[in-house]
């Protein structure tokens, strides 16, 4: 804010100097993607290098822009790039908004993105389609950067669907596997459900405010009736839930692990799945204006974080445990941004810290798989610490970071969220606070299980493995750097004034203090809960585990193995009715709608065979169809009248 008088107003100055080229962040990886996808096999030899170089260049630029923005007084610039749509009163331009929030995301996407790109050089070495992989990866980076750099909800949406496509392409990377193809389709479809909600949010903005650009919408929220604000908030939340794998749209994310591990690390852990958090944080004036809306965000976050933890405890596939862990950690972020006020910054802080340690954990898992002939079943690991020391140490640091052992990242990022949840006060404070605290304990439990089963105890390897090997240096270096980030990022960000950096975006850094309990007490309690989780898990799994699935003795284990019936729910609520409806429509169209026409034609033409068929039972299906069709049209007419 430049002028105190405008303290209640957001002002986006026009970009100048270094910052007038922020669009290059998007353009470089996009151009690289186009080259890689069009050049085909000709780029096989240098494709991976171009892919890494482009994202690396974007990272260097992102650092430069970051410092340029720090030097500015007003901390938010927007740039007009060209016109996109203008019809009647609706106008959207290609435009960039560069402020502390988007700068932070740009650094995360390009920085962690670059490391994972480099890792993928090694991981994808044997894959004949490696350069195409880098094309998709660059495409993802470009779309993700557009998502966080757009200055209009429509710009965000274009990036939003762009990352969805990249995610679809990369999940179904091994497309000759039916499971991978299905997982990719499932991810795209469930995301589209959220996207449809996002679209409706934009329609509401246009209908009531005449625009979808950030400035105008945030400006006008105050004048909206509360019902409309709530509707916009809920629609945006729907979009966010789809992209971020939050309840009730969480079921696609674990299946997304069908993709190569670098994809899981970059897209389905560190960046894309946090887009929902970005959206809510970006649209904070809307959520600030509706307490009901933001409370629902908190509730979704709290519920999902527990759901992710519980399922994570029951999984034996290392990547799926990490996937449910991601679901759960993003739950924490939703919880934080739902709490609002100073907690927005806490949510983003946790997002960054999570970006480091979860990406590191996934790369570690990939390294283990690399050495174990793509085995992902933790029951068939064990004792690996001796064979892959670098992986062991980096994963170990990521493990300590995620469960929140001081002074690693997770401690600085997760603990404040738990405290902020308790500080909400009243019954909500207790419910959400205890959920977050319980989640911390469960996280410690399943992560300890993962770590102990993979690296310690007896060997439980399959017969075809003799000497698991450590990954090559090109994979180790990114793992080491991410491990350093997992250790240090949290503390550096907190003591480096990260929340103050975001202050211009959210307007406040104040986190309400807990009234009844001191900070030290809260920290102590949460550390005790975490240690409890670690100890129980260690006692249970230090001797390893059975190599095959054991019968579930309790209902909760059965439910957790079934992903808490999330897939069953989807199947009964959507797939089955969809199938029946489709079959009914196909039957009706062939026998009914078309039958009427051919029947009429037969009557007119006097074809006796057709007439005979008419008399022997088809009349009933025609009559039913006419009735059904009429009912559908009447219903649609009523919908028209309603609108």
């Amino acid at each position: 804010m430049t002028e105190p008088a405008l303290a209640e107003q957001v002002h986006y100055a026009t970009a100048s100097g270094a910052l007038s080229s922020v669009w290059l962040l998007i353009a470089i990886p996009l151009a690289s993607a186009v080259v890689l996808l069009l050049a085909g096999r000709r780029s096989d030899r240098w494709g991976h290098i171009l892919g890494c170089a482009s994202i690396g260049a974007s990272f260097v630029l992102a650092v430069w822009y970051f410092f340029a923005l720090r030097g500015l007084g007003h901390k938010a610039v927007s740039e007009h790039l060209g016109s996109f749509i203008q019809v009647g009163g609706y106008k959207v331009d290609w435009g960039i908004l560069y402020d502390p929030l988007s700068a932070t995301f740009a650094l995360l996407i390009t920085g962690v993105g670059f490391l994972i790109h480099v890792y993928a050089i090694g991981y994808m070495k044997e894959d004949p389609g490696r350069r195409r992989f880098f094309g998709y990866f660059n495409l993802f980076a470009a779309a993700m950067l557009l998502l966080v750099l757009g200055n209009n909800f429509l710009m965000t949406f274009i990036g939003w669907e762009g990352v969805g496509v990249a995610s679809y392409l990369l999940i179904s990377w091994y497309q000759d596997r039916p499971s991978a193809a299905t997982a990719g389709k499932k991810a795209f479809l469930m995301n589209r459900v959220g996207d449809a909600a996002f679209l409706v949010a934009m329609f509401l903005m246009f209908g009531y405010l005449g625009s979808t650009d950030f400035a105008t919408v945030f400006n006008g929220v105050g004048a909206l009736p509360h019902g409309v604000t709530l509707a916009i908030a809920l629609c945006l939340l729907g979009g966010a839930c789809g992209k971020s794998g939050q309840f009730p749209l969480q079921a696609w994310l674990p299946d997304a692990m069908e993709g190569p591990t670098p994809v899981s690390a970059l897209i389905h852990a560190a960046t894309m799945v946090t887009a929902g958090v970005y959206l809510i944080a970006r649209a904070h004036p809307i959520f600030d204006a509706t307490t009901i809306g933001s409370t629902i965000v908190v509730a979704v976050g709290a519920f999902t974080l527990l759901l992710g933890c519980i399922i994570g405890c029951a999984k034996d596939d290392i990547k799926r445990v990490l996937a449910y862990s991601t679901v759960s950690q993003i739950g924490y972020m939703f919880l934080a941004v739902g709490l609002g006020g100073g907690a927005y910054a806490l949510g983003i802080l946790h997002l960054l810290a999570h970006g480091f340690f979860k990406a590191g954990l996934f790369l570690g898992a990939g390294s283990v798989m690399h050495g174990m002939k793509d085995q992902t079943d933790m029951r068939r690991f064990g004792g690996l610490w001796k064979y892959m020391k670098v992986t062991w140490i980096t994963v170990g640091l990521g493990f300590l970071a995620i469960i929140g052992i001081p002074p690693l990242s997770g401690f600085f990022s997760k603990d404040p969220i738990i405290e902020a949840a308790f500080a909400r006060g009243g019954w909500q404070g207790w419910v959400f606070g205890l959920a977050a605290l319980l989640g911390a304990g469960l996280t410690a439990f399943y992560m300890t299980r993962l770590f102990v089963l993979t690296f310690h105890g007896k060997k439980r390897w399959t017969d075809d493995i003799e000497h698991p090997h450590e990954s090559p240096a090109v994979m180790q270096v990114p793992m080491i750097l991410l491990a350093i980030g997992s250790v240090a990022a949290g503390g550096l960000l907190v003591y480096g004034g990260f929340t103050d950096w975001l202050e211009p975006v959210f307007g406040t850094t104040e986190v309400p203090e807990a009234v009844h309990y001191s900070k030290a007490l809260m920290t102590g309690i949460s550390i005790v809960v975490v240690l409890l989780g670690v100890v129980i898990s260690w006692l249970l799994f230090r001797r390893g585990t059975a190599e095959t699935e054991q019968p579930a003795r309790t209902a909760i284990v059965r439910a957790a193995r079934e992903n808490l019936y999330g897939d069953v729910l989807n199947e009964t609520l959507f797939e089955l009715p969809g199938k029946l409806l489709t079959r009914a429509a196909v039957f009706m169209d062939g026998k009914g709608v078309d039958g009427i026409v051919t029947g009429l034609a037969a009557i007119v033409g006097g074809s006796s065979s057709r007439l005979r068929r008419l008399q022997t039972g088809f009349v009933r299906s025609y009559a039913l169809t006419i009735l059904g069709g009429a009912l559908v049209v009447v219903a649609a007419l009523m919908a028209v009248k309603l609108g």
Binding site: V87, G88, N151, I158, P285, A289, V597, L642
Partner: protein, 519 residues
């Protein structure tokens, strides 16, 4: 250049070309193909000049020409073009050479004359230009009906299995609608004071009931043509049986005559009836979106599947037209163009697959991406454009249609938005069943799948994909042409955009506006 008789040249030239191609020696089919292709490219060049000459901010109708025809009835050969017609003429000009190139070998295997096939395509071209350019209602009617003949022969003589059935069904169905239109045209001639000139008719007044009856006559013909639910059942048969190139023109252009006709004739000539029947139009359209999508999900035949997706897309065009806002209307016309590009490309690519496999049944494919990666990639890209992915041109139109519809009909727009989800379902499932998963062993032995896209096929696909992306990122030139014409049409109907319930205070200085916080 403004005095050059673009429209009559564009109408007559392809007809002449058709004659030339038909009369070329049968012994050298290659010559006929080349002549047809060059002829259509020349027409594309003329159309391009015409589009550049068109002044977006100029008079509503441009390039008007009028010649006497049947003086006794006051009927003249009158042509003119507004922004809506111009866009459709541009689409025809782009698609025809591409379709000719795509159909290069389609007629070789049939027993029929190759020359005739390409002559029919050019004849169809002439009627498509004529129908969009006509400014005399009788002339429009004449093209509307004559258009059926080349298409009837393209399907009936050169189509796949069940081609006879499909061709007759298509013909009779269209003729049936045409009869009602003919009655309405005669009625209009009577009440309009013995003229059928569009510009004159758009100023006459008529009684409410007359207007409504005449509206229905036109509307029925257009609803069959478009086609709207429940008049759509001819389309999957025709689209499934027609050769791929003809199917691309049928769905890409011919069907647009329906929605174009509604905008041009129903709206401007019968504004009161249009407002009266709008809820019916909206209802049929929104049912079409959901119904067409569900049916597309349930298809096992690639060509029929694409035909059903079009029925869903026509539903979007329909709600855009009847929502009566500038965004929805402009979006709908833009949709007519984009759907032509996107579904046209989809039909052509499906045609390449079917031609390689010798079957359109989805079960005969599976895992084909392994054998023909480039073809699979093009299929996927075009598929994504069909589900209106941002960055591709159909997104802009679908978004505008839904956005504009929402501002007048909220519940309806929300129902229609669910079509966005279904679209992802039918496209991705189609792709999965044909291209992904285990390789169908019969594919690896089939000779068609020995080679990926040929050079000719690349030239067919590349321009369409390029246009889809260019117009997806920068649709401004087209929108600038369409939106004044749509605004004029909305003005004819007597409708204007609703004002947003809450107008935000806007500083108006580029990119920077003050925003009130709202705690």
């Amino acid at each position: 250049m403004n005095n050059f008789p673009f429209l009559s040249v564009l109408t007559v030239a392809p007809a002449v070309g058709a004659l030339v191609v038909a009369l070329l020696p049968r012994s050298n089919p290659r010559l006929a193909k080349i002549v047809a292709l060059v002829w259509s490219l020349a027409l594309l060049a003329i159309t391009a000049v015409m589009c550049v000459t068109f002044k977006a901010n100029g008079p509503r109708f441009q390039f008007r020409e009028s010649y006497p025809w049947i003086p006794a009835w006051g009927i003249r050969l009158t042509v003119q073009a507004d922004g809506i017609a111009l866009v459709m003429l541009g689409l025809v000009a782009v698609l025809v050479p591409i379709v000719i190139a795509a159909s290069w070998h389609d007629a070789d295997k049939t027993k029929r004359s190759v020359n005739n096939y390409f002559a029919l395509l050019l004849a169809l071209d002439a009627t498509m230009i004529g129908v969009f350019a006509a400014a005399d209602v009788f002339l429009f009617y004449a093209f509307f009906e004559v258009m059926l003949i080349p298409m009837y022969f393209l399907i009936g003589s050169f189509g796949g299995a069940r081609r006879q059935y499909a061709a007759v069904k298509f013909f009779l169905y269209s003729l049936f609608g045409g009869l009602f239109m003919l009655a309405a045209v005669i009625g209009l001639w009577v009440v309009g004071g013995h003229t059928l000139d569009w510009n004159a008719l758009s100023h006459i007044s008529m009684s409410t009931s007359t207007g409504r009856w005449l509206f229905l006559g036109f509307f029925l013909a257009f609803a069959i043509k478009a086609p709207f639910f429940p008049f759509h059942t001819w389309l999957p048969d025709a689209g499934g049986a027609a050769p791929a190139g003809a199917a691309a023109l049928l769905v890409g252009v011919l069907d647009k005559v329906g929605t174009y006709g509604i905008l041009r004739f129903c709206f401007s000539l019968f504004p009161e009836a249009t407002r009266f029947f709008a809820p019916l139009g909206l209802a049929l359209a929104v049912v079409g979106i959901i119904y067409g999508s569900l049916l597309a999900v349930g298809q096992n035949d690639l060509k029929r599947l694409v035909a059903y997706t079009s029925i869903a897309h026509f539903g979007f065009i329909g709600i855009g037209i009847f929502a009566f806002t500038s965004q929805a209307g402009t979006g709908a016309v833009l949709y007519m163009l984009n759907h032509g590009l996107s579904t046209g490309a989809l039909f052509l690519i499906v045609g390449m697959l079917v031609q390689r496999r010798g079957s359109a049944n989805i079960r005969d494919f599976g895992g084909a991406a392994k054998l023909v990666p480039v073809l699979a990639g093009c299929f996927l890209v075009v598929g994504f454009s069909s589900l209106a992915l941002p960055g591709t041109s159909p997104f802009v139109s679908e978004f505008l249609v839904l956005l504009g519809t929402f501002s007048t009909h909220k519940a309806l727009a929300i129902v229609a938005t669910s079509g966005v989800i279904l679209a992802a379902g039918y496209i991705l499932w189609m792709y999965q069943r044909t291209m992904q998963g285990n390789l169908n062993p019969e594919l690896s032995t089939s000779s068609g799948f020995k080679h990926d896209l040929t050079g000719r096929e690349k030239w067919v696909v590349a321009p369409l994909i390029a246009l889809i992306f260019i117009l997806g990122v920068y649709p401004k030139p087209v929108i600038d042409v369409i939106s004044p014409a749509v605004a004029a049409t909305m003005h004819d109907v007597g409708k204007s955009d609703p004002v947003p319930a809450t107008r935000a205070v806007d500083n108006g200085s580029g990119g920077s506006s003050a925003v009130g916080d709202n705690k």
